[in-house]
Amino acid sequence: MDASDIRRALHRIAHEITEQTEGADGVVLVGIHTRGVPLANRLRDAIGSFEEAWVPVGTLDIGLYRDDLADRPVTNLAKTSLPVDINDRTVVLVDDVLYTGRTVRAALDALADFGRPAAVRLAVLVDRGHRQLPIRPDYVGKNLPTAAGERVSVHLEDTDAQEGVWIHQRGEDE
């Protein structure tokens, strides 16, 4: 995927979200750090470009909810901030790549500590398969069949120098 593929995919997802929520009424976009955050901001901008709606965007760092915490070094935690009360709203979790589903599982646990949304949906730029948990996306930019040994990297201008989605063999330089 190149920059314009990403833009088109996000616009389609923005339309799907507004279609299913009657104009994004009561929707909160919640970006999962790191790259879910700029993607959530772009979805808000896309929705705002054709709908009379400025959807609130929150951010979630799921570092404290990981089930593999013991295997990872302590890294700095990023900001978790939900600008509105999520009770009885529709939360759309946004992430770049959906893989095992464990990040989303952790995000669901984190959300439950903030309240009880009316519904939680999942939007991802890339679904690369290989789920280890019963989790499925509601909005997908692109389905990208991969082998477990491969790595998918999403680069966005906001966090990286360039923009696009690449598949690498493990061990290969990005």
Binding site: L64, L69, A110, D113
Partner: protein, 304 residues
């Protein structure tokens, strides 16, 4: 890896802990102020000196990270039957904690506990030596107020000789870039304070207008602090933060105190209740700072 003192930790370490603590202050403001980060871990609190507030703060921190807590206090335990510190902590270790938080009246005791048990140990205060989590919560409180510590002028006032808080805070504040001035009668300065990276003053009136933070210490009667100056009224007249001295402070400057406060001695009653006295912010930040230290030691690879 343990957290026994500020010495031995560089600026990068301290900033990692402060950054974590910043995020934990957010966690503590959530509707459900608890995260599962240390689920399945057990923290043993081994307090040979009574300290209700510090122990409660550690307990709150451990529980907010979903860790389990074992509390040990020597009163009524086998310590009163003559058991040694080493046998006591090895007995506790056999019950399977992942980390020990140790407070002891003797300098160096937490270091010995770490060596005997091989467990990560957090020093919760040892004699007049170190109290590093206090230094982290104070640094956090100052950073959240001013954005950074670099080039701030911090005056630590009072019984510095008997204060582990002063020792740890000098190390943390200077490592984080602040200028520290110790303000005390010569009899309340430690003998080695001329070698510390600080300036010394015997007059609070001379420095008060230049300070961004006025950090007051309690006269520690239980450690002999009251016997080295002529009288309390004389101490108050020279080193107490009276209303007159508070008025002479920079309007942006703040007052801090590790507690418990002696109102009317080191701090005037109305100053203690002023919104520029951050004493309760310090207490609140203490939970977040201790969460950060526990998570830093137990969350992730470092524990292995």
């Amino acid at each position: 890896m343990s957290f026994l003192g500020i010495e031995g930790h560089d600026r990068a370490d301290l900033e990692v802990i402060l950054d974590l603590a910043d995020e934990f202050t957010e966690v503590l403001n959530r509707p459900i102020p608890r995260v599962p980060a240390l689920q399945g871990k057990t923290v043993a609190h081994v307090f040979y000196e009574s300290s209700t507030r510090t122990r409660l703060s550690f307990e709150r921190a451990a529980k907010a990270l979903s860790a389990d807590v074992m509390n040990f206090a020597p009163g009524g335990s086998s310590v009163s039957k003559g058991e040694s510190l080493k046998d006591t902590v090895l007995t506790l270790k056999a019950m399977g904690p992942d980390l020990m938080v140790v407070r002891h009246g003797s300098a160096g005791a937490p270091t010995r506990v770490a060596a005997w048990t091989g467990l990560p140990v957090v020093n919760a205060g040892d004699g007049a030596h170190q109290h590093p989590t206090q230094a982290m919560l104070d640094s956090l409180t100052i950073r959240r107020r001013f954005g950074k510590l670099d080039n701030l002028r911090i005056g630590i006032v009072g019984d510095i000789r008997h204060s582990r808080v002063a020792r740890s805070n000098v190390a943390a504040f200077t490592t984080l870039g602040a200028d520290v001035v110790l303000v005390a009668p010569r009899t309340l300065l430690p003998v080695d304070s001329r070698e510390w990276p600080v300036t010394l003053s015997e007059s609070l009136d001379e420095v008060i207008g230049d300070l961004d933070v006025v950090y007051l210490l309690r006269i520690q009667a239980e450690r002999g602090g009251a016997s080295v100056f002529p009288s309390l009224p004389e101490y108050v007249s020279r080193f107490g933060l009276t209303n007159r001295r508070f008025a002479a402070m920079n309007p942006e400057a703040v007052v801090m105190h590790p507690g418990p406060m002696n109102r009317g001695i080191e701090i005037a009653d109305s100053v203690a209740d002023d919104e520029r006295a951050l004493v309760l912010d310090q207490v609140a930040n203490g939970v977040a700072a201790r969460m950060a230290v526990l998570f830093w030691l137990l969350g992730g690879e470092r524990s292995g």
